[in-house]
Symmetry: C2
Subunit: 371 residues, 2 copies
């Protein structure tokens, strides 16, 4: 059995910078036609020039990609993963490995109308809003979500046809943060009816109703929120590799979000929120939030959609919905074929800064890329 997907899109990915970018970019470049690169770097991407520069760094990183470092642990030996993708550098501009980084701007109070016009002229049309302190790299976000300056930015964004992407969490109790933010989503959706608003990485089943209530409200779904619950973090021993923001919720939330993904609901597109962190930063006090899922996204989505007899809906979830929501008709065509075949997830992704442990490290997958 095999499945060919056209123009696969990851609408929420942390590609990082420097050595980490070099070590993780090939996973996205191989599997996706395009991906929305999150702007919450150590120096956030707050203007057009920074975004264009970051886009160049991403494209250059594809050439520097050190995917040979990916290792898998079998029979107590560290073996290099057999990966026919070794020629990724030379193929970076061929159809097979063409990859378009979609850029976004991190909203701060310094964002001006002139800057937004400049962004639009440079094909940047997505703004990302982080409530201050809500997640990794949100320290520069706005603290009063609906203050005068932010509302002005929303108004200009609406006028210029931007898409507003929001990490929607309150400062309340972890398990209720997304739900509590719901009223802010509703207010923005009502007050800016022509502004497309994305509720990022939906984690709480109580948010789903909002999609039907407002025509300008959309959502992205991660692989982990449709696959896991809080029990994966702390149901038996504590597993920091499943710790992410928004925190994984209950099995009921997981199941409702999975149903939303499987249903090909045109309001929901795929955004992995894959977030590489060094193992040393995960396994410590004040450990980093984020799940590194980039190496296994499409393979696992095939498994899940096949298991639920919904493989025919995967094209919508992983591409068509986003093409429509974000109006991405300019992405160069690219197809990728997956085949039902056992493969093994690398146990670690090596970087010059240290090890990164991918989701499902060392485990078996029943789908693989067809080369």
């Amino acid at each position: 059995m095999q499945l060919t997907l056209k123009n696969t899109l990851d609408m929420h990915i942390h590609l990082r910078e420097g050595d980490i970018l070099d070590s993780v970019i090939h996973f996205s470049a191989k599997a996706f036609s395009a991906a929305l690169a999150m702007p919450n770097l150590s120096s956030p991407i707050i203007n057009t020039q920074m975004a264009l520069d970051y886009k160049n760094r991403i494209l250059n990183a594809i050439n520097n990609s050190n995917d040979h470092n990916t290792q898998t642990n079998t029979q107590n030996n560290i073996e290099s993963i057999k990966d026919s993708n070794q020629n990724i550098a030379s193929n970076a501009k061929s159809n097979k490995y063409s990859f378009t980084p979609i850029m976004s701007l991190y909203i701060t109070h310094n964002l001006t109308k002139d800057e937004l016009i400049k962004a639009k002229e440079n094909d940047i049309k997505i703004l990302k809003l982080y409530p201050k302190g809500s997640t990794t790299g949100s320290e520069n976000g706005v603290s009063e979500i609906l203050d005068k300056k932010t509302l002005e930015i929303f108004s200009i964004a609406e006028e210029l046809g931007f898409i507003l992407s929001i990490h929607g969490e309150s400062n309340g109790f972890s398990m209720d943060r997304e739900f509590e933010f719901g009223e802010i989503f509703e207010k923005i959706a009502r007050d800016f009816p022509k502004l497309k608003i994305i509720m990022e990485h939906l984690s709480d089943r109580r948010s789903i109703d909002l999609l039907g209530k407002y025509s300008n409200l959309f959502a992205t779904l991660t692989l982990h929120h449709i696959t896991f619950s809080l029990d994966n973090v702390l149901g038996s021993g504590l597993n920091p590799h499943y710790f992410c923001k928004p925190i994984l919720k209950s099995p009921k939330d997981r199941d409702a979000l999975l149903e939303l993904a499987l249903s090909a609901n045109p309001k929901a597109s795929f955004g992995s929120d894959s977030a590489p962190h060094l193992e040393t930063n995960k396994l410590k006090v004040n450990g980093s939030a984020g799940i590194f899922s980039a190496p296994i996204l499409l393979q696992k989505l095939c498994e899940i959609f096949e298991k639920h007899n919904k493989l025919e809906n995967l094209q919508s979830f992983v591409s068509d919905n986003a093409l429509n929501i974000y109006d991405l008709k300019d992405i160069p065509n690219k197809t990728i074929t997956l085949i039902k075949k056992d493969s093994k997830v690398p146990s670690v992704v090596k970087t010059n800064l240290g090890d990164i442990i991918p989701l499902f490290a060392g485990e078996n997958l029943s789908w693989d890329f067809k080369y």
Copy 2:
């Protein structure tokens, strides 16, 4: 300001064995008149002989106590904590440091009536039930809570006047495990009306109503469940030192449990569930559940009860309620005086096996023991 407490009792403590026991016992021996030693050792305490042997090991450990190893980290220097308790070994049998380990038996299907009679003859009257897999050291617990053999044991326990202490959690979603176990508590309370049943380490406000509903149902409360919520584990970065079972719940649960503790409700007594784990076993994948609170229990309880203007109720919570519930009139009298005075929590407790990080490590306390 100072407060003298009489016959302080910790009705749920993990004292461990060997090097760990030697390193932690002095905290309990100093602060408490008696403490209920949990029987879930690597070889669980499943009969009278093992319990008596363990009791001797605990008493011997007081003599071997290496409290000198307690260290505090101040101004970037590791300094030995000033601790007038150095003479604990020689004082072990004096009034000041008298300490009575209260023993319990771990329920397995092999527990016979003869064994229970023998236990009673040796002043062991508490049985501890762990649903299989519910927490650290519960691998030997019973898997079907209300199977025929377990009900027979409950029946004998009722007849002989035992107290049944239960780690009440289902195998469901972490945040609902205690609530889901509620119906089992109710069934046991109804079917064995003369059996005193303790709901250990209450964590969910939905359990509190049960206390009023059944005269034979009681509870212990930990310091951490009345002080923290799940947000302390994962509300910002992940903090494995706050990971425990039952998992910390919502701020509403915390506040309701705190109110129960402060109210001197005679159904609720103090049981710290202090659980020392090596730092290396906390900061890893599949990290151990348990909070090591033994070094700061009474000091912190004074702070909390003072803050809420309920210092007059601390004697009930930390002694009188348990004396009545468990009928502990034979414990030798001991008083301990705490004084309002700044003190510092050790940043680490050293053992021959490695470091243990106490709750509030390196932080300031506003109460201390008066020597």
